[in-house]
Amino acid sequence: MTHPSHQRTRRWRRMTRLIGVLFAFSLVAAACGSDDDSEDADEAPAATEAMAEESMADSMDDDHMDDSMDDSMDDDHMDDSMDESMDDEMMDDSMDESMDDEMMDLSGTKVSVFGPESSDEEAGALRDALDHFAAQTGIEITYTGARDAADQINAQAAGGNPPDIFIFPQPGKLADFARDGYLEPLPADVVAAMNEHWTPAWTVFGDVDGTQYGIPNKSDLKSLVWYKPALFESKGYSVPGTWDELKALSAEMIANGDTPFCIGIESGPATGWTFTDWVEDLMLRFHTPEDYDAWVAGDLAFSSDEVSGVFTEVLDLWNTPGMVFAAGGSIAATPFGDNGQPLVDNDCMMHRQASFYAAFIPEGTVFADGSADAVDTFYFPSVRGDQPVLGAGTLVGAFRDAPEVWEVMKYFGSSEYAEVRQRAQTDRKGGGLSGFLSAATNQDPSVYQPLEQSFLSILQNADVVRFDGSDLMPAEVGAGTFWTEGTAVVNGDKTVAEATQVIDDSWPQ
């Protein structure tokens, strides 16, 4: 027999427990729901929202965002808001023509950006640069970075929830997405804005079958060798001007008991890309740019004498006894990021790596200031006397056709973005080289350090610039067999003939 009041308290307890469970559920739901939103979505100032409500188109979009939580539970609502946003887009399309140059009020609109840059310095500086633009326009821009973004974007696009803008590390991927119909072609005014800042040598990588889909927003210079000038001087070595001189210098170093190169190709899921960079750089040197283009397009097979000859050239150099400073003597076991320390420690004399490698050289290192420990670069020597340059970089592509998205796209391609980002990244690196580089024209050169300016002048003045070949090839090869089979030959598991045959077989028909 229980006392009535006792029963009441028990009922009350049950009620509170039920409410507690409901509350816990809603916390979880809220946490899941806000995944897509920015971290600071909740902090959006009330003033912005009030302003947004004045413009009809925007308020619709706002509703859509605010209610996104309910949407996940309430199908009907989702359909409504989706229809609305569809109408919205169509309206924007028709407005685009009439309003053209008139700056629309875009405050309160939201743009999501996704990309592969995820380190504190890089992603942080990228966010700083976007915040700068957000403060000007009132567009809420969120950036999410993930190391395997290039994998994730496949699932996101196929699953119907891509970001508004994706930063493509590989033009080949951009082309795949454009051909599959996921990307929006750039409107004429965006193309015009891009052309103010980028030369055709760079914009061509965002051109898919004659339509412009991508805007370059970051550049890397790959044909570089990092070294210490003072050490070279004290040992009596001179910077090689040709490939043969480089080989002779290496032999001299080995004879003197020095280790010429630090090389490592381990890079987690991307293991092997360092090898592909060497092959690409030498393809561009031993053969003509036309051959290079044919190779990248799949018309010149890997098993051809030209390409497999370059494979052999690289491997012969690497496998020379005493040539390489590497983990357990194994290039395949050495992380590419671990090459900076031994270079600074004089364990090796040279390291061929792109301009961004500044970010991997230990903190506190000085660059190109003439002091005894300064690290500098020289141009990876040519073979045929021309001065070809291997470049790389990222391109932005848009998945949604909306004015705020195009404004952010334009900003990504501007010299202003490059300057703001470069300043932020230099600050975050605590001075020194930032690792960021942009070949956009009209930039204020003072944001770059002297060594970075020399990179830029190499990039902007080179007669022959070619993009990193593996980034242009289809993913099956460029991010697949070229890496894995390259790793296999470097590790000695396969012969060049076997590996190149596998790569050729994997080229999509």
Binding site: L22, G33, G480
Partner: protein
């Protein structure tokens, strides 16, 4: 805060809606008594609408913008109408007797509770499974039908199945080791058989030798026949067998030590570490640094340190002294075994002494461990590239999973050992059985069902191994497995056809084992 309230309201609404749904169906089924035909019709309409929506969704693909567009409404209404009419026809055509009404009502009520669960299983498992099988018959973007070409590619591609190295089986030391062990097993069995007057008598020890020989033989085969599929099989065989064997050993030994729970906790501890975490930990264990630098990877550090022990430096003499004293103990044990006619002890200690004698020889002669004399006779580290040297790098990767799974096997087998009825063991002892006989004749046969359960659970888990390979090599250096290949094909290359086919192959590999397990459970093991 607004988000939180929104979510709260949403949860309240959905809980309310579910409650209303349950109440509604309950009322509906209460009507079966009086209006059977109407209930049948309404049920038909609901089922038809859902089926129509699903069908139209599958037909038009995952294009969410099309949701509830005109053509889909047609599908839903059409489905509802057809199934509703069918339901009405059933309701009118087959009137129910009083007894049937009760049966139908109870069945329908059960359905109310099982239905949502079934629905979630269907949405989350069955439909994706069917779609995966469907996609596996198409090309990389799921548009052009390719038949079974994707499956053909899996089993003809040299990357996934390369049998060309079969001749290497007969050249490998593992093969000869297996042959020697098989011969040893046969000799012992025949010898024992002759003493007991039968053709061959297999003692537990003999069977153990046979199992070891089989394992060596399988390693010889897997090290020669390469490719993704063979790697997966190697994982299944090695990890399942070794984890179970080590787990059983640990369970038996832990059963007899003082601080049993402490010992078992320590062995079970790795189970608490995720596969990714364990992969990263073991990467550091295996890491090799440049020969000129001190080694930071534990195994290479030990290996290189051993190499520095040379007779010239005196370190080797200390090592030899330690080894010699252990060998002396083993020799004494062997003599004891021979005197007491305990063949297991004699053979075991003699076998254990062989590698020690070999080590003593190495220490005094060519040296042990990774160190080669440099130009000025200074030792230069000779590291082992555990992760890079194919094919036995696969084994070093498996060590990670064995390290994790041994604890799992031990805990379950230990519980089984403890559950062996004490009177059974008591009776065996009274009959004069010694410890060994009690274990092999009583305990082991009793826990065989548990061993099977452990092994099948392990096979299912190992077949799907992904994280460790992804973290440690990502399939490079000849360590690719099906699950990682599936990831790369599907998500790196976006080849949905081939990725789905690999998923189906993995699924088909797992299903029979799962089926076996479920049948065991249903028999009430």
């Amino acid at each position: 805060m607004a988000a939180l309230w929104g979510a709260f309201v949403g949860v309240v609404i959905s809980v309310g809606a579910s409650a209303a749904l349950f109440w509604g169906t309950h009322r509906l089924f209460a009507l079966v008594e009086r209006r059977w035909a109407a209930v049948a019709a309404v049920s038909g309409v609901i089922t038809g609408a859902v089926a129509g929506a699903l069908a139209s969704g599958i037909r038009s693909g995952p294009d969410s913008e099309q949701l509830l567009a005109g053509s889909q409404l047609v599908w839903i209404i059409g489905g509802a109408a057809v199934a509703g009419l069918a339901g009405a026809a059933v309701g009118i055509g087959w009137p129910l007797s009083a007894a049937r009404i009760v049966a139908v009502q109870s069945r329908l009520r059960a359905l109310t509770f099982v239905g949502p669960a079934m629905l979630f299983v269907a949405l989350g498992l069955i439909i994706p499974l069917l779609r995966t099988i469907y996609l596996s018959l198409f090309d990389k973007r799921g548009t052009d039908f390719r038949g079974l070409a994707n499956y053909g590619e899996i089993f003809t591609n040299a990357q996934s199945l390369d049998l060309s190295g079969w001749a290497g089986i007969f050249g490998s030391q593992l093969f000869y080791g297996a042959v020697v062990l098989f011969a040893l097993m046969a000799v012992i069995a025949l010898y024992r058989g002759r003493r007991r007057g039968v053709r061959a008598d297999f003692s537990p020890g003999t069977i153990g030798i046979g199992l070891g020989a089989g394992l060596l033989l399988s390693f010889a085969v897997f090290a020669s026949l390469r490719g993704t599929v063979m790697n997966n099989l190697w994982w299944v065989v090695a990890v399942t067998f070794l984890s179970t064997a080590l787990g059983l050993l640990a369970a038996v030994i832990a059963d007899r030590v003082k601080r049993e729970s402490l010992a078992k906790s320590l062995i079970f501890l790795p189970m608490a570490i995720s596969f990714v975490g364990a992969g990263i930990i073991w990467r550091f264990m295996y890491i090799a640094r440049p020969p000129q630098k001190s080694q930071t990877g534990l195994l290479n550090a030990i290996w290189v340190w051993l190499g520095t022990l040379r007779p010239s430096t005196g370190g080797a003499w200390a090592a030899v002294a330690v080894l010699a004293s252990v060998t002396a103990v083993l020799t004494g044990l062997c003599a004891f075994g021979v005197r007491r006619r305990q063949t297991a002890i004699a053979v075991g200690s003699a076998t254990a002494a062989i590698p020690l004698l070999w080590l003593i020889y190495r220490f005094l002669g060519p040296g042990v461990g990774g160190s080669v004399p440099g130009p000025n006779d200074e030792p230069i580290a000779g590291t082992i590239l555990f992760v890079q040297e194919s094919p036995f790098n696969n084994l070093w990767l498996m060590v990670v999973l064995i390290w994790i799974q041994t604890g799992f096997a031990m805990v379950i087998l230990s519980a089984a050992i403890k559950a062996v009825p004490a009177d059974l063991i008591e009776a065996a002892r009274v009959d004069g059985a010694d410890e060994r006989q009690v274990f092999f004749q009583v305990t082991l046969p009793t826990i065989v069902p548990t061993i099977t359960v452990v092994m099948t659970a392990m096979i299912v888990l190992v077949m799907k191994v992904f994280d460790i390979v992804r973290v440690m090599t990502n399939g490079n250096f000849g360590t690719q497995v099906i699950a990682n290949e599936m990831w790369q094909r599907s998500f790196t290359e976006f080849n949905l056809g081939l990725g789905s086919a690999l998923a189906v192959v993995l699924f088909l590999g797992v299903v029979p084992v799962m089926g076996l397990n479920i049948r065991r459970m249903q028999r009430g093991e």
